[in-house]
């Protein structure tokens, strides 16, 4: 399921990049490149699994990003993202340390770097079919904690790095003057490594935990407001279904808000 979804997403994205400039007639053919700049904020949660799917928890993320990019004739765009986020890893359990640890220390900051790609492919009538993708690297800052309650005080430090990939087709209705509702279906990939160091003198240990997101395909709906040719506001809500380890379907949700200025 996961590999299949990934293949479809890559297909759409690749097709978009290759065919976009040819397939989609430019909305503003008189202009060539336009520079994009903007800010955005996003909150979402993801069910994550580790230790060969023997453990799971919910990762909660809040992030803010700035974006700078180019919009090509025809509407395809490419942007670089940079920002800062807080990743709440509560519920992550480290059982390979001398003393097993249940992480409940809340959010860890992370510097975010990535790219955003949007490519319109076809425009049948007032509809627009395209592809979009996002690659986001997260470089976590180190956290330090003290553990009391044992006969020896414990010192811990940890850091998490990760990669998030979203890619898939988009469907946008362009029939309104100043706003365009849209929906997307996307492959949702999340992988991370959380390194935790334990020091309860003389006991020391390090555990690197490989983490993966659960749920390979998500969907979103949103609205793109375009009150002027130079400004856009994009609001989007996400839904990523996943299967709980003990069975049963659940959903991760998220939302984002972006402003985009075009020059």
């Amino acid at each position: 399921m996961s590999a299949h979804s990934r293949l479809i997403a890559v297909f759409f994205l690749g097709a978009g990049i290759l065919l976009g400039p040819f397939a989609a007639p430019a909305r503003e053919t008189e202009r060539s490149f336009r520079i994009q700049a903007g800010v955005g904020a996003e909150v979402f949660s993801r069910s994550i699994v580790w230790d060969e799917r023997t453990g799971s928890s919910i990762l909660k993320v809040g992030l803010g990003m700035i974006r700078v990019g180019l919009e090509l004739p025809g509407g395809a765009s490419f942007a670089l993202l940079a920002g800062y986020g807080g990743n709440n890893w509560n519920g992550l359990v480290f059982r390979e340390l001398p003393f097993s640890i249940d992480y409940e220390a809340g959010s860890l900051g992370a510097i975010l770097l990535g790219t955003d790609i949007d490519v319109p492919l076809f425009k049948p009538g007032k509809w627009e079919i395209g592809a979009s993708g996002r690659f986001l690297f997260s470089f976590g800052s180190s956290g330090e904690w003290t553990l009391t309650g044992l006969q020896q005080i414990g010192a811990f430090d940890g850091r998490a790095n990760g990669l998030m990939i979203q890619a898939g087709p988009t469907l946008t209705y362009r029939g309104f003057e100043t706003f365009s509702p849209f929906a997307t279906l996307f492959y949702d990939g999340l992988s991370a490594t959380f390194t935790m160091n334990e020091n309860i003198d003389p006991l020391v240990g390090t555990e690197k935990k490989k983490i993966k997101g659960q749920g390979a395909v998500g969907a979103s709906v949103g609205i793109l407001f375009e009150p002027s040719p130079a400004f856009r506001l994009k609001a989007e809500g996400f839904l990523v279904p996943y299967t709980k380890l003990e069975g049963g379907l659940k959903f991760n949700v998220g939302a984002s808000l972006r402003t985009i200025y075009l020059f």
């Binding site: 390979e96 097993s100 640890i101 249940d102 220390a105 330090e144 904690w145 006969q151 006991l203």
Partner: protein, 450 residues
């Protein structure tokens, strides 16, 4: 070497409880009630509850003054209130019976219900039918023994076994060597756990049958067959038992035999070596044997001694052996437990219910009895060490020993805070040793320091 056997009070335990046990039906003498604290209302006679406390809910329209008056009239006082449920935790007078007082409250027209404050257990409670008597593993405030006048334990004065088992009861990859008087190889609660006939260094053969009682008692505490609906629960549910007989029928042995036993056990692959025996003097041979086993990755656990003196050997071989003192059912230091800087931890050692040889009581009685001594404290620690080793096989013996030390509860902290010579780091705590510890945000004080 003189082995000082822990006192074994021959409760004719079997006779008292034979009526509920499916084993060896022997002659049954007068059997008092089996209830732990007293008969409970609906769930049968053995549901534990907090002594001296009941839960009371008044009807919603009963005014506060009426409630207060009802409490006073019943010689009781409220010590807690669950506001959402409007239920009071009521302390009754010391001489009152929980059942009678609950009935008295329930008969009041302003009271919706009154019930005992039942004691819960963690989900990982084994179904062994004598488990309820094992205060050392789960102390619910039950009476220690079933004869009139038996002492009553303090709730939670135990090694938190149920909570630890929630994380792991251990597996069969780890074997505990019982270097002792042998083990009853046919005991119904041990037979499936014994890895083989063992080694007998007393008679120089390969039949470590126990002709004393001590090794069988130690083996049961460490790793009796658990969750098998009968008998007692062992600390390490699934660990194997390797019987090594070095003490004769009088409980005596020599440094040579004990050393041979330790080396043999280590070479057989035992990861845990329990030494519930004691020498007054430090034998170099014994030290060399202990060091040999330690260097092969064995975790050695020994009893501190039972004469209120200095820590005996091999427990006093500090670098290689976990020395175990004894506490009681109130988490107080057992009066006869030896002390000294070598003591690492403590575990319950007074009135510990365990296995005894099937021939011990005779007459078809059940092969279980209450035994005292640091000899009985040590196998609790051996059981914990076995679970830790099966849970994290990559840890060294020294690391597991540190985990056991650091996770202990300083139960005498009020009088001897920190590490002390009576119980070392404290009474072992399986929950802290096994269950993932919550790592929470560290808040630092902001502002001028004092």
């Amino acid at each position: 070497m003189t082995h000082r056997p822990a006192s074994l009070r021959i409760f004719v335990f079997a006779a008292l409880i034979a009526s509920v046990l499916p084993m060896n039906g022997g002659p049954v003498r007068d059997a008092p009630s089996l209830s732990l604290i007293g008969p409970a209302s609906v769930r049968g006679a053995d549901v534990p509850y907090v002594p001296g406390q009941i839960l009371v809910k008044f009807k919603s329209d009963v005014p506060a003054a009426y409630r207060a008056a009802t409490l006073v009239l019943n010689d009781s006082r409220a010590v807690g209130w669950i506001s959402t449920l409007d239920v009071y935790t009521v302390q009754i007078s010391a001489d009152a019976s929980v059942e009678e007082k609950a009935a008295a409250f329930a008969g009041d027209p302003g009271v919706l219900f009154a019930e005992p404050n039942y004691v819960c257990r963690a989900a990982a409670t084994p179904n062994d039918n004598l488990f309820k008597y094992q205060y050392a593993l789960s102390n619910t405030g039950q009476r220690i023994g079933d004869v009139p006048g038996s002492p009553q334990g303090k709730i939670s004065a135990d090694i938190k076994a149920c909570q630890g088992w929630e994380e792991s009861p251990g597996d069969d990859s780890v074997t505990i060597a019982i270097i002792d008087s042998g083990v009853d190889l046919t005991h119904p609660d041990l037979v499936n756990k014994i890895t083989g006939p063992g080694r007998d260094f007393v008679n120089d053969d390969f039949d470590a049958t126990d002709d004393f009682y001590h090794g069988t008692a130690v083996a049961g505490i460490a790793a009796a067959d658990t969750n098998n609906t009968e008998g007692i629960a062992g600390v390490a549910w699934n660990a194997g038992i390797l019987p090594v007989k070095v003490l004769n029928a009088d409980g005596a042995g020599t440094a040579a035999r004990v050393s041979e036993g330790i080396i043999w056990a280590a070479e057989q692959g035992a990861r845990i070596i329990n030494l519930s025996l004691e020498f007054d003097a430090a034998s170099q041979t014994l030290l060399d044997a202990v060091r040999y086993a330690f260097n092969r990755g064995c975790i050695l656990v020994a009893s501190a001694g039972n004469d209120n003196g200095a820590v005996k050997f091999p427990a006093a071989f500090d670098a290689y052996v976990l020395a175990v003192a004894a506490t009681d059912y109130n988490d107080e230091v057992w009066a006869s437990s030896n002390s000294g800087p070598e003591v690492d931890v403590a575990a319950p050692g007074l009135d510990v219910l365990t296995t005894v040889p099937t021939w011990f009581f005779g007459g078809g009685a059940l092969p279980y009895g209450y035994v005292d001594g640091t000899s009985m404290a040590a196998p609790h620690v051996s059981g914990l060490a076995a679970i830790l080793k099966s849970q994290k096989p990559w840890l060294s013996a020294a690391e597991i020993m540190e985990i056991i030390r650091f996770s202990a509860d300083d139960v005498n902290g009020a009088t001897s805070p920190g590490i002390d010579e009576s119980i070392g780091y404290g009474r072992i705590n399986m929950e802290k040793a096994l269950v993932p510890l919550k790592l929470e945000r560290t808040f630092r004080k902001i502002g001028p320091s004092e």
